[in-house]
Symmetry: C2
Subunit: 96 residues, 2 copies
């Protein structure tokens, strides 16, 4: 299993727009990607601009397939205008 934590810093005033795009993306991932086991947006309790996507994939292939979907690319383009900086995407291997 592969874990991903993508940290996003959202511009002031863009949080609601960002959340709407993210919610639509989460629904599409859930509907289309059986190899994506977790794909959940969270917002920081102490930073009004801080968000993460918490993600778990069955394997590397599922992670790569996710990145190639049309809806992921479209959402990424929409989110771009909400970001205060480049996303920090960290990828992990499961320990079990």
């Amino acid at each position: 299993m592969i874990g991903v934590v993508a940290k996003l810093n959202i511009l002031d005033g863009k949080q609601e727009e960002f959340e709407q795009v993210a919610k639509d993306l989460m629904a599409k991932v859930k509907a289309n990607e059986p190899g994506c086991l977790t794909y959940q947006l969270y917002k920081s309790k102490k930073d009004a601009n801080g968000y993460i996507f918490m993600e778990q994939y069955a394997n590397q292939e599922a992670l790569e397939a996710h990145g190639k979907t049309d809806y992921f690319r479209a959402a990424g383009a929409k989110m771009g205008g909400c970001l205060a900086g480049a996303p920090d995407v960290q990828v992990y291997d499961i320990v079990e």
Copy 2:
């Protein structure tokens, strides 16, 4: 739902000891905490010292109960000797 990402930097040579303590902790959390929906150790793909616990809780009470268990406190004490620095624990609210 509450999300937690706890980043841990492990001393060189202590990774195996740390992973053993973490695996035992994961088993105890799974067996005893129905309000803890995800509690998974991951290791960084690019940093041999970098680990995270990826965690999801049904609510704030479940998170607080987790921190008060005897086995969490015992594991924390054992992990302490493996850490190269203070853990970075970030807490999030779900967006749904």
